[in-house]
């Protein structure tokens, strides 16, 4: 395996609705910042990979416009995944492992405010037996939450505490959307949104973008004082049908954590991308994190949820803490699909 490290990261300020800028205009300064921070010139980046979904814009091949933010003439080596940017990062990492590239620019972007996101997400489901019923993403998460609550796997109190923790942590994050000091008891007095979920159990809907530059061994050492080395990187998927899965645990996260070697050493920081409080608790458990781990110092997905970028933001936030020396070893998690169907785990070390 080649040594590969995150050398730079940039993100937009995540907001409920970007009133004035389109996707490319949101993305452009982010890509520029990541590129400038990487210390690599435009001709020095071998591969570009992005994550987005055309359904956010309701337009096929909408992702191609994102290339305006990169500049693609003379032609560049480029790829795209219809997934969160964290999976684009995985593809770029594999590309570097193959030896066909020594560096890569990865970005993810989404302007969810143009449509009804929970409804749009019904289109990622089985098109024969699920999409025709139009189950929105929040309702599906609520079904899972009830199984967890009634099965004694989580409690409403612990779910509220997760929201309190993330929102408090997000106070130090200028890019986060939902932040502040809240009390669990007060949150639990709020009405249900989609019972058994309350508003605080659900990640916000955000417009935003993120970009990361990764590089192999010598290149990373040349441009970065303290590269965040990727020492474990795996993603695992479960079946699409909710009925055949155990929704009260995240088996795919457990397997990914095992394969990525999360437990091989102490974890100083973990950045989790779970968009619902009960899912955050399931992921935390599946990763086997102990009390010494600082979870979601950025606030996690519950504080800002730029869909298709939120997972890549987790990698960037984890890498940032390795680079600034506040963490020696960090774990980033990303998820995709209904009820934690697919999960990605990335281990970063200084």
């Amino acid at each position: 395996m080649r040594d590969v490290a995150v050398v730079s990261f940039a993100q937009s300020r995540h907001v409920r609705r970007e009133p004035d800028r389109n996707e490319v205009e949101i993305l452009m300064p982010v890509v520029r910042e990541a590129r400038e921070r990487s210390g690599l010139g435009r001709g020095e980046i071998d591969f570009v990979c992005s994550g987005s979904t055309d359904y956010l814009a309701g337009q096929s091949f909408a992702f191609v416009a994102g290339l305006d933010a990169v500049g693609a003439w003379p032609p560049i080596c480029e790829s795209h995944v219809e997934m969160d940017g964290a999976w684009a990062l995985y593809e770029a990492w594999v590309k570097i492992q193959t030896g066909y590239a020594d560096s890569a620019l990865v970005y993810g972007f989404g302007k969810a405010s143009m449509g009804d996101l929970p409804e749009v997400l019904a289109l990622q489901l089985d098109p024969y037996v699920l999409t025709p019923l139009w189950p929105d993403a929040v309702s599906l998460a609520a079904l899972q939450a009830r199984l967890c609550l009634e099965g004694g796997v989580v409690s409403e109190g612990a779910m509220a505490e997760a929201a309190v923790r993330d929102r408090r942590n997000a106070k130090d994050n200028p890019f986060a959307q939902v932040k502040g000091d809240f009390e669990a008891a007060k949150l639990l007095g709020e009405p249900f949104h989609v019972a058994p979920l309350r508003k605080h159990d659900c990640a916000p809907i955000s417009d935003g973008a993120a970009a990361v530059v990764i590089a192999a061994g010598d290149v990373a050492r040349r441009v970065c004082k303290r590269p965040a080395w990727i020492t474990g990187f795996t993603h695992i998927a479960e079946p699409q049908d909710l009925g055949v899965r155990d929704l009260t645990r995240s088996r795919s996260t457990e397997i990914a954590a095992e394969k990525a070697g999360v437990g091989k050493g102490p974890v100083d920081v973990a950045e989790l991308s779970a968009p619902f409080t009960h899912q955050e608790l399931l992921v935390e458990r599946a990763l086997g994190l102990g009390g010494a781990t600082k979870v979601n110092p950025s606030g996690g997905a519950l504080a800002a949820n730029p869909i298709m970028a939120v997972g890549l933001v987790r990698v960037g936030e984890a890498a940032r803490r390795v680079q600034d020396g506040s963490a020696r070893r960090a774990v980033a998690h990303a998820t995709s699909g209904p009820c934690l169907q697919q999960n990605l785990v990335c281990v970063l070390e200084g």
């Binding site: 004035d20 933010a69 003439w73 025709p132 189950p135 939450a145 049908d241």
Partner: protein, 328 residues
């Protein structure tokens, strides 16, 4: 840089119907729903999957033994939708639920309609399928499940199905999709569209090499840098760089067939764009031909590219090949 304008917005509707081939297992499942019956499939270990699958989710073994399960079952989990969306199965507050039908080993996702009363829902609730009077072979043939407290789990489910008892398969499942969006043009396009509403054509200059891009997109697609400088006016006349004679009809076509689709390099721009040529004999159209825009009457101008009806020959002598060679 001029002040950032508030973005123009426009509604966008995405609407189409997927026609999906069903295959041997789901085809019978949908055929069964059309008959008012619910089918599952037996796995090698004897357990019954509902909805049925062609392959075992654990082992990947092909499955074929279809069985019928009961229209009654038990709620395993539920989510209360206090504000249903238009496309969702029930028009008043309802629950999405995982329902384990009698005779099945896996739960089915569907809706439970308790008359809008959340208090009637609980895990363990007995429910019964309410089939639609007119059925076409889709899960929507079950309008919803309803509370059925008295409905005991009857013995005898699942029922084996002899070949003659199998429903006629549905070959194609139609899945309509309709989504509503509100687009925002963004800053660059808003500036461009506001200008065209005043009869001006705006381009923007790449800060790296000075090339002028038209229409304004906010970024130089070559260098990936924002075109932040003052926009520049581009002329409404230019040179045909390439063309095609269109004889095939398509929807929303504003001109009559046949017509010439042209790639135009406007005077003052360094990028081409595509429009329609009219008031010209098709056999006369050629590369290098000079053309000019024909605008709608001024009182009809809006923030739209449609303000230019079409291009027509300007009568000027042809442009030299070298002037547009780089754009071929």
């Amino acid at each position: 840089m001029s002040e950032a304008p508030h973005s123009l917005t426009a509604p966008h509707k995405l609407e189409y119907t997927y026609k999906r081939s069903t295959g041997p297992i789901l085809g019978r499942f949908f055929g069964g729903l059309r008959d008012g019956r619910i089918l599952g499939v037996r796995r090698p270990d004897g357990r019954v999957l509902v909805p049925p699958k062609e392959y075992d989710p654990d082992t990947g073994v092909a499955l074929s033994e279809l069985v019928e399960v009961a229209p009654t079952g038990t709620v395993v989990s539920w989510a209360w939708v206090a504000q249903p969306r238009e496309k969702q199965p029930v028009g008043r507050p309802f629950a999405y639920a995982l329902v384990k039908l009698d005779g099945a080993d896996t739960p089915l996702l569907h809706a439970v309609d308790s008359g809008g009363d959340a208090k009637k829902l609980r895990s363990g609730l007995r429910v019964r399928a309410r089939f639609a009077a007119e059925r076409t072979g889709t899960l929507r043939d079950i309008e919803a499940f309803e509370p059925a407290e008295g409905a005991k789990a009857e013995a005898g489910w699942p029922r084996a199905l002899a070949q003659k008892d199998l429903p006629e398969p549905l070959e194609i499942l139609k899945v309509p999709v309709k989504l509503d969006y509100l687009y925002s043009a963004g800053q660059a396009a808003t500036r461009f569209l506001r200008a065209i509403a005043e009869g001006r054509l705006l381009g923007q200059r790449c800060p790296v090499d000075g090339k002028v891009y038209f229409p304004t997109r906010g970024a130089c697609p070559e260098h990936g840098v924002p075109t932040e400088g003052e926009p520049v006016d581009v002329k409404d006349r230019g040179t045909i760089v390439s063309y095609s004679i269109v004889r095939v009809p398509s929807e929303n076509l504003a001109v009559e067939l046949p017509f010439a689709a042209i790639t135009v390099l406007l005077d003052g721009a360094d990028s081409t764009f595509t429009h329609v040529l009219s008031e010209a004999k098709l056999e006369d159209v050629h590369m290098g031909m000079r053309v000019q825009a024909v605008w709608l009457p001024r009182e009809q101008w809006t923030t739209s590219m449609r303000n230019i009806k079409f291009f027509k020959p300007s009568g000027e002598p042809d442009a030299p090949f070298e002037s547009y060679e780089a754009h071929l």
